[in-house]
């Protein structure tokens, strides 16, 4: 616990809290899958939520987005309680979500996948130059530039992840929720995508990344939470935690 307190002290300077999740318990098909999750993302901060498959990362993200019922707890974003909002209003408040399975709009091109959120939420996000924003996303993901008019079902795995992240960026969000952006990709593509993530983090967007491989994230995030069986079991400096033997055991499924 002392490690966690130290981490909180160190990060106290990072800015005001943007996302405050407290005591959150998500319910999937009648079963409580997370038990009193507490986490926080401050303005301009990049935070990782690390845990094995099935630990509750996706459920936590989905309950932040209002897509999974919640038994109790609170999710405050920029001072506003999100659990009271209809789920379609949450992206309009400024949270971009990249789901775990890419969940792109098939039959539409990469560019249309970027434009759709702007068409539906652009006004709420104060976006007045749609084209400039789209070009900005293509400037970031240079690899997608040549695939602009490709229908998304024809993309490679990495390109699909990029399109899903790009679609979340098209909301001009204050906070990005990235659910396992590096999962299922070849090592060389992982490095490539990490450099893009680094680029996004530098842009002053707050980011919360879910990840099942603790060694993937230390070099891009400021802080890390470890989730196991629906509970936050540790948090703090990512470099320290990733080296922690107990955590490593946990990640490999041997720890208890």
């Amino acid at each position: 616990m002392s490690q966690r307190d130290a981490a909180v002290d160190r990060e106290a300077t990072a800015g005001d809290p943007l996302l405050e999740v407290s005591n959150l318990s998500a319910v999937v098909q009648g079963f409580e899958v997370t038990h009193g999750i507490d986490l926080e993302v401050r303005e301009g901060e990049a935070v990782a939520l690390v845990g094995r498959n099935g630990a509750g990362k996706t459920s936590t993200f989905r309950s932040i987005m209002g897509l999974t019922p919640v038994a109790n707890g609170s999710v405050r974003f920029d001072g506003e309680e999100l659990l009271d909002l209809r789920s379609e209003l949450i992206p309009k408040r400024g949270i971009g979500y990249q789901p775990e399975n890419r969940d792109l709009f098939t039959g539409m091109t990469v560019e249309e996948n970027f434009r759709l959120p702007i068409w539906t939420s652009g006004r709420a996000r104060g976006i007045d130059d749609e084209d400039a924003l789209v070009e900005d996303i293509f400037d970031l993901f240079t690899e997608l530039e040549g695939r602009r008019n490709a229908e998304v079902q024809n993309l490679s795995g990495g390109q699909g992840k990029m399109t899903a992240i790009g679609r979340a960026l098209a909301l001009q969000p204050d906070l990005l929720l990235l659910d396992e952006p590096l999962e299922g990709l070849a090592p060389v593509v992982v490095e490539n995508l990490k450099s893009y993530l680094h680029e996004i983090i530098k842009r002053d967007i707050s980011v919360l990344i879910a990840e099942s491989n603790a060694s993937h994230v230390p070099d891009i995030v400021d802080r890390m939470y470890v989730i196991e069986r629906g509970e936050i079991v540790d948090s703090g400096d990512p470099e320290v935690l990733a080296e922690d033997e107990e955590i490593q055991m946990l990640m490999q499924g041997g720890g208890e």
């Binding site: 379609e88 992206p91 039959g107 759709l116 959120p117 709420a124």
Partner: protein
Amino acid sequence: MSRIPFVEERNGESIVRVPLTRGLGLTPVQAVLVLVGIVLLFGLPFFSGLVGLSWERLFRGILFGIAAVGLNLLLRHTELVSFGHAAFFGSGAYGVAVLAAHYDVSEGLLLLLGAVLIGTLVAIIIGYFVAGYVDIYFALLTLAFNQVMFATVFRSGFFNYNDGLQVRIGGDRPSLFGLEWTTLGYNLVLYYTTIVLLLVMLLGMWKLINSPFGRALDAIGQDRTRARFIGIPVERYVWISFTISGLYGAFAGGVYALLRLHVQPEPTLYVFVSGEILFMAILGGFTTLVGPLIGGIVLVYLLEAARFWVTYYHALTGLVLLAIVFFMPKGIVGSLPSIGAALAHRRHDPGLVREDIRGIAAAMRRAVDRAITTVRIIVFGVN
């Protein structure tokens, strides 16, 4: 940005656009087809004798086709199957009949306007209740609303029970554009007014499905959760599209009443009519804009023509539906591109035809072999 072509599926090929049609996003071939279609529609009263059916009957096919175009907005984009679109067709028809019979409105266009308003209102009300549902629940709810309306009209003296209402004001048919017409003149004026409005409505639908709103409906059809987390208000958009869809049905029903001058519950409100409208959309090709319209014309033609040929003519619809589902799942218009491509291939390389024949022969041989084997096993046992 408008990318969805007239006929879908071109695998990212770049499409040449002629300047004239650029605003609509049509290829030259599509533009020619559209022109041919418009000429056929306008010429229908003059050459319908060639197909052995009066044009008034084909007119009825066009009207059901319009309702099917409306239904197709839900079917193709939000991927919702409505089994209750006769509710709007019937509301339109009864809207005209009630305004004429009970309120003595004598101008046909006013009647039509009233019918569209009434039908749209019904769509707004039903849409409010069904927009949150998907799949079988949506289908059953629309069916239930339809059935409630049918039963109410059937049992209500206001709607004159099963006998229905005459669209006559003191024995006279309504006027059109403020003028009285002979029977033929009335039908022709009604027809051409409808065709002009139909073209406007098709253009409107084309613009709608290629707009951001149309893309949002596609997104909802694919996955409602996915649509929500980019901020699409799913229920509200479904409600709007349901209402627009109902508007098309109400318009068609209103014109139907003006054409028939007599509205009964069974041909306009019964759930079988809903089924037929749905069938028309599938028959014509629900992956296209004009497919349902053509499906409406073809189905009514088949039903009317077959009535003179076969006793069990309703079985014909079933057989046609089976054939469509097995051999042309994309419907008539939806299958045109692949049929065209296959024919072009064979013209290019006649050897393919020989292969086709060989393939069919082999398949038949296999079927016969299997049948013989089955019989042998039944008769002689294994070995």
